[in-house]
Amino acid sequence: MLHIYCPYCEEMREEEEFSYSGEAHIARPLDPESLTDAEWGDYVFFRTNPRGLHHEMWNHAVGCRRYFNVTRNTHTYEIYETYKMGEQPTVTGGKS
């Protein structure tokens, strides 16, 4: 079981309270009409799926019901940090 710090409730909670919501920091194209099918398909469907450091969204589903970001190692499951929506990660790259 993961023990996850919710940046809104400001305490550690059990994994059972959360749900995983995919890769974080994917910006919606400002002008979708001008995209090619390949670019739109890339935005909608394609994700990085790295082995190692990953920035991802989680939802505190039965708690405060907020989305937030987690920097997690997909190999060791270690969580380096959690941060609120709109913030940038402090842990980037270099670790695996």
Binding site: Y8, C9, G63, C64, R66
Partner: protein
């Protein structure tokens, strides 16, 4: 003529319990109002405090109480107001008046959930096996409110001053909740008052 029934009106307490160490008491027909707004906006917090007679708690997992009104912090911009039975329509109207023109939401959830109090000498043992949250007094102090799971269904758990727990549970899960409670407290003895 409508007849008002609580979500737990149909339950039958276990018979032949001589030594009850867990006691369940429903606090039925309370007014449950969900309030959303921006706590950084002073016009909002001031107007709400004026209507309710108590300031909104802005610390995570905290609560505030004033007479029969209780406020639970749910998330940074959301609160649950528990008000006396049959006053929710008036409180909602007062809030709408006081908050006119502001970007807020007031939602009456009274018929969707109910308030249950669990007490007794072995209530801590019951909580330990019912929820993933650590309900030890060192983690869940008096007045603290957490939204977590109780028997895998969502619940809002509030630690009361007398050491008992107040749970806000969904109407649609009340049957399941009671079946779990009756089963889980079999070894302690359950009394329903």
């Amino acid at each position: 003529m409508t007849s008002l029934k609580t979500p737990l009106h149909h339950i039958t307490a276990p018979a032949h319990v001589t030594n009850a160490n867990v006691i369940m008491r429903e606090d039925p027909f309370r007014g449950h109002l969900n309030l959303r707004g921006n706590p950084q906006d002073e016009a909002f917090t001031r107007a709400v405090a004026k209507v309710l007679g108590v300031a909104l708690p802005t610390q995570p997992n905290s609560s505030a109480e004033q007479g029969t009104t209780r406020i639970y912090w749910l998330c940074p911009n959301e609160w649950l107001l528990l008000v006396a039975a049959d006053t929710q329509a008036q409180v909602e109207a007062d809030l709408r008046d006081a908050l006119a023109g502001q970007h807020v939401a007031v939602t009456d959830q009274s018929s969707g959930q109910t308030l249950v109090n669990l007490s007794g000498p072995q209530v801590d043992d019951l909580m330990m096996k019912s929820t993933v949250y650590d309900c030890h007094p060192s983690n869940l102090g008096i007045g603290k409110v957490v939204q977590t799971t109780f028997a895998k269904t969502g619940a809002i758990i509030h630690k009361c001053a007398d050491g008992s727990f107040d749970l806000v549970i969904r109407r649609s899960f009340s049957d399941y909740f009671f079946l779990w409670l009756a089963d889980a407290s079999q070894e302690y003895g359950l009394r329903v008052t």
